[in-house]
């Protein structure tokens, strides 16, 4: 396996007396899809928030291409190529589908974007391609708030897709999808991984995890209990017991 693109070393986060993330180590390799699995409250989303700088870590390190990104702001980390989705989607609700995707790839905090007409055309092409791959071309001018549930889910992926980010952190992106939409989602994510995108996915549906994941990291109570091949992890009776609510001592 090639060198990790993103590494987490000894990451710790406490909320008051609660250890949300404890001494977590994890490597994300290029083109490898890692699923973060664990019961509710295991610290999966908190781990994403620590990686993306949304909340500061108490200790530990987050390395991108071997360089520390801990302590950097979320927008800075995003510009380095780490894109994420949210459980509650957080779409730009009053903007159209096309504007949502376009806004996701316009970074400069100034009155206009640099690069002139050619850069603008490249951004527009990236938007159209992302809409096409996510099946949202027909809804391009609809407002995000007016979309159906599955379309909203795909829009959250389209925004990430258009950014061309090297790392995708997807927080329950397939929850609530019908079977047809789920199959489309699996195909979309597989294609991205085949193109070399490094993907880390939080997912409660173990069927999707089995279908998609190259590796699984199992978290419980903030600690990583196991990491490895999906078949090995999902056959471990102790881990499955924890996942389905049989508490370990």
């Amino acid at each position: 396996m090639s060198a990790p693109l993103l590494s987490v070393r000894g990451l710790d986060k406490k909320f008051g007396g609660l250890a949300a993330v404890q001494q977590v180590d994890m490597d994300l390799h290029p083109g490898v899809l890692t699923a973060l699995v664990g019961p509710n409250g295991a610290g999966k989303t908190t781990l994403f928030n620590l990686i993306t700088g949304n909340i500061p870590a108490d200790s530990g390190e987050v390395l991108l291409d071997g360089a520390s990104i801990r302590g950097r702001s979320p927008h800075h980390i995003a510009r380095l190529g780490v894109a994420r989705s949210f459980q509650d989607l957080r779409l730009f609700a009053r903007m159209t589908v096309r504007e949502n995707v376009l806004a996701a790839i316009e970074h400069t905090a100034w009155l206009w974007q640099p690069g002139g007409r050619s850069a603008r055309r490249a951004r527009e092409a990236a938007v159209e391609q992302a809409l096409e791959r996510t099946g949202l071309t027909a809804q391009a001018n609809a407002r995000a708030m007016d979309l159906a549930y599955a379309e909203r889910k795909f829009l959250s992926v389209a925004r990430i897709l258009a950014t061309g980010s090297r790392i995708w952190l997807l927080d329950e992106p397939a929850s609530g999808l019908d079977l047809h939409s789920r199959a489309r989602f699996v195909s979309l994510v597989r294609q991205a991984a085949a193109e070399g995108v490094t993907i880390c996915l939080i997912e409660h549906n173990l069927d999707i995890v089995t279908e998609l994941a190259d590796r699984i990291a199992f978290l419980d109570r903030g600690a990583k209990l196991a990491e490895g091949d999906p078949q090995d992890i999902l056959r471990d009776p102790e881990l499955i017991g924890i996942y389905f609510g049989e508490r370990r001592t």
Partner: protein, 292 residues
């Protein structure tokens, strides 16, 4: 009668500039400020001082008013934009209270409670523009330029970034938006435009004092934006026409005694606000679900 209508039209145009500039903050960026009258006042005092001490040129006064308001808006933006939502409202309220005191006490700059009197008649590049109709044309031209600039900016990446922040600040950050920088920029821009409105106001009134820049004025401007409709060009203008012309219209109704006009006006404002929030929360001409 013509002079009366020209007076109303000029005031409506100046308030149109104020409402359009506040709409940048409230409608496009989701930043609720109750201190817009402060920047209106800063522009008015700066414009008046330029006219009284240097030359009564509208262009120069507008530039000075806009620059002073922009510069001092950093005092609000830089510390207050570190906090979110209701905390910014509280910070702007504090600034509004403080500014009224400063405007009342800084006699050398503002003339204190008595205000600045004797502001000379306006000129534009050497031409006299003091006639009521001509000055209205100048104000309309400034409003048109401002609306054009807002339209261009809001249709571009800057506008999309602001609206992204308004709809989800954390998602905007996750897509590389420097939220603090963008918010600072829009506050400075909105306040600068309010300052331009202030400079025009000082020329028009030929007198400015603190009474025009109180919390009530800030709330009136905010009501114009919210009632008219946020995040559209037309919304704030509709709000201005409604809230500025309503008192004038009421005075023509023979069955309302002159002493009761204020009370009737307050009742209508309150009822209109309540009904709008229930049936059309985005305002009369604001964005609503399923329509742009």
């Amino acid at each position: 009668m013509t002079a009366y209508l020209l007076n109303l039209a000029t005031l409506a145009t100046i308030f149109g500039i104020l409402a359009a500039s506040l709409n940048l903050l409230i409608g496009y960026a989701g930043i609720f400020s109750v201190a817009h009258a402060v920047f209106f006042g800063l522009g008015a005092y700066a414009g008046a001082q330029v006219a009284m001490l240097l030359v009564p040129d509208v262009l120069l006064a507008c530039l000075a008013g806009g620059a002073v308001a922009a510069l001092l808006s950093l005092g609000l933006a830089l510390p207050a934009l570190r906090v979110r939502g209701e905390y910014f409202v509280a910070a702007s309220l504090g600034l509004q209270m403080m500014a009224v005191t400063v405007f009342s006490e800084a006699h050398a700059l503002t003339g204190g409670h008595g205000g600045l009197v004797g502001i000379p008649l306006p000129t534009l590049l050497g031409f006299d523009v003091s006639a009521q109709g001509v000055f209205l044309t100048v104000c309309l031209a400034v409003l048109a330029l401002i609306l054009l600039a807002i339209r261009m900016l809001m249709r571009g990446s800057f506008g999309r970034s602001l609206m992204a922040i308004r709809d989800s600040e954390s998602a905007a950050e996750a897509f590389g938006k420097d939220v603090r920088q963008l918010k600072t920029l829009v506050v400075v821009l909105g306040c600068a435009l309010a300052g331009v409105g202030g400079a025009l106001f000082s020329f028009y009134m030929m007198f400015v004092n603190v009474e025009s820049f109180t919390l009530e004025q800030s709330i009136l401007i905010m009501a114009m934006v919210i009632i008219g409709g946020t995040a559209t060009l037309a919304g704030p203008l509709v709000g201005v026409l409604l809230l500025l012309l309503l008192p004038a219209a009421l005075s023509f109704l023979p069955f309302i005694p002159p002493t009761q006009i204020g009370a009737v006006q307050q009742f209508i404002y309150g009822l209109a606000m309540a009904l709008l929030m229930i049936f059309r929360p985005a305002g009369i001409a604001g964005q609503s679900a399923g329509r742009r």
